[in-house]
Amino acid sequence: MGVIQRVVKPKTHRGKRELTKREPKLIEDARNSICIRGNKCSDTTLKFLKDVTKLQKPNSVFFSRKHDFLPFESTTELGRICKKYDASLFVFGSHNKKRPNNIVLGRLFDNNILDMVELGIEKYKGLDEFKTPKFAVGSKPCLIFAGEPFITPSSDYFRLKNIFVDFFRGEEVTNIRVEGLEHVLSFVAVDEKILLRGYKITYKKSGEKTPYVELEEMGPSVDFVLRRTKLAPIDIFKSACKKPKELKPKKKKNITKDVFGSTLGRVHIPKQNLRNLPTRNMKGLKKTMAEKKLERAEKARQGGTDSSTPVEIVSNSPPANQNPSNTMTSSVFVNTSRGPKSDVGKVANAQSGSIQLHLSG
């Protein structure tokens, strides 16, 4: 009996690399997006798709061939394309009589469509129509949202804002070169319309360290209307937003802050062994000759009566310090911040077995 069948494995190292690249990661890379041209596409929609690709470079691809499907009617083909190119964002442009200049924005979670919104373009002025210097490829834009609908959780605009941020925010970064902040995308929701404007920032003197910001319109300038939506239910959306356990900050134990803002540390000390406590040897505590004699006589008497009983050596140290509080594990609060100067070893709350120490920092 030979090996009947194997689980499908990548045949080449390159293929394997590609597959590992696509596996879920703890910290994800920037989302890839694809801009898809529908079967029939107006000039405006086409221009918009091209401009969006430019805005999202280098994480976007423009598919300029005609695609004969509509995302709101069937998502299988779209899902297949997105999976193939490992894209989790898509823009689909189409044009017909019922929905002229139609744009569908969507995103995927785990290769399934999460959210999808349909926007109609009413006015469009592309990037090329503004004769101004443009932004550098891959620069992170500032995103400005204004208008009440964006902050009303019950409206579709609330989720739409989330989708827009997901589309245009670019890569997640920890550091940013302030000179590199040169690109602003502004979204204003007013009167059932969404006004998207792109600006370039120029900095002017302000007399302070922070410069004065001046904007110059560089496009694109779009007036959208919201059409159909297909948004993920709240539970699915929440599960998609779930932060992995590994990324959550670890809880620091035994460190607290009090009302004055000083840090308190709790230290757990095991039970003290008082038997090994070295006591002071003093002449006064030494046994006198008479006592020694008495003890010897006692020993002899015990040995004479029963030689088998072991002799117990009784230490002379006082059996004090054996109050019941010592049986508990005591905890000590150590103040590590700079508080008022106080002596070390202020003992409080001895009954409960916890000791609070204020250490002058």
Binding site: F145, F150, K161, N162, E172, V178, V188, Y199, K204, S206
Partner: protein, 346 residues
């Protein structure tokens, strides 16, 4: 900071006033302005109004960024952005740890730790360091086993080399099976092991029997013309279900009479032994016998009546249906003077 310095421009104020404070997320370079939009201004001069609105918000963002800590990286001053606070969905779910294989979980339970083994091992026979596995291992094996002794009780015509290679391929196949099983378990695939027909490593006697019978029947004529294979026992529950009486010389009359007899003979059946044991157990057997003597005139009748009564009371109070055998019903029968005589029989 690169600032355009044209002498004609006067320094302008960076302060921005907003009725409601805007929400800034420097991690995403995101500003959410919740102030009301002035429709009047928007309608009169939309381009200018939108530009000014955006400018003020951008200024607020830049102001915030300039409060962040700065440091120098390769002659460039960068601002340290905090973590984004605006929550966005992930594109894929968080990676899960690979589920343990059967052996791994067993080893973990028993605390067996994997030991690092050296790649080369000393072979006494060839006096050489040979690889434990992998590259050149087969070569070393071949050099060692160019001759195999035929075991004492083995068939002298058996090919020992073939036997060895077969054993090896069996081991490989077994390992592959285990690997696939672990994989199936990890992906929660249901392995088609219905009725024990597919190969498990070790099948039970019954499973093998079922498999053999199923194989026997798997022909176009449902195994009708299939020769018997070895000593196959018939499967359980596959025998004749209906049995017909012979048409002549049958016992139909006697059978029906016996049924009638059973119906006519109305004496209730008493499991005497259980009654006795129960009465003895409860300890009121003796007293009952004594008391009943006073009332008793008709043993059988009394018994029957008492029994029935007990039955009724039993059903009323609980689901107990076996009248006379039950302790509770006995007691009740005795408590009422009208319940008639009761006696210990036999």
């Amino acid at each position: 900071m690169e600032v355009e310095s044209s002498s004609s421009d006067e320094p302008r104020s960076i302060a921005v006033e907003k009725a409601i404070e805007v929400d800034i997320d420097p991690g995403n370079l995101l500003v959410s302005d919740s102030n009301e939009i002035s429709r009047l201004q928007l309608n009169s001069n939309p381009a200018e109004y939108l530009k000014e609105l955006t400018r003020s918000n951008t200024q607020l963002l830049i102001n915030r960024i300039f409060t962040l800590p700065f440091h120098r990286v390769d002659d460039v001053i960068v601002a340290e952005l905090p973590k984004p606070t605006y929550v966005l969905p992930r594109s894929k779910p968080a990676p899960k740890a690979r589920p343990l294989s059967k052996w791994e979980s067993y080893a973990k339970e028993k605390g067996i730790v994997k030991k690092k083994k050296s790649r080369l091992v000393w072979d006494e026979m060839v006096k050489k360091w040979v690889p434990r596995f992998g590259y050149r291992r087969a070569e070393a094996e071949h050099a060692k086993d160019w001759l195999i002794e035929v075991p004492q009780h083995a068939d002298p015509y058996e090919d020992q080399f073939e036997k060895k290679s077969e054993e090896k391929s069996e081991r490989v196949a077994k390992n592959e099976l285990q690997r696939l099983r672990n994989l199936a378990k990890a992906k929660k695939v249901v392995v088609p092991a219905a009725k024990g027909l597919t190969s498990k490593v070790k099948q039970s006697k019954e499973e093998l029997l079922t498999a053999a019978h199923t194989a026997n029947k798997a022909t176009a004529s449902l195994g009708k013309f299939q020769p018997k294979v070895g000593k196959l026992k018939p499967l359980k529950g596959t025998g004749k279900k209906r049995q017909f009486e012979p048409l002549i010389n049958n016992q139909e009359k006697a059978k029906n009479l016996s049924v009638l007899d059973k119906i006519m003979n109305k004496k209730p059946k008493i499991d005497v032994e259980s009654v006795v044991s129960k009465s003895v157990g409860s300890g009121n057997l003796k007293r009952k016998g004594q008391g009943q003597d006073n009332y008793g005139d008709d043993e059988d009748g009394g018994q029957r009546r008492g029994g029935r009564r007990g039955k009724q009371m039993g059903t009323k109070n609980s689901k107990i249906k076996k009248g006379p055998a039950k302790k509770g019903s006995f007691k009740k029968g005795r408590a009422s003077p009208r319940s008639g005589p009761k006696k210990k029989k036999n």
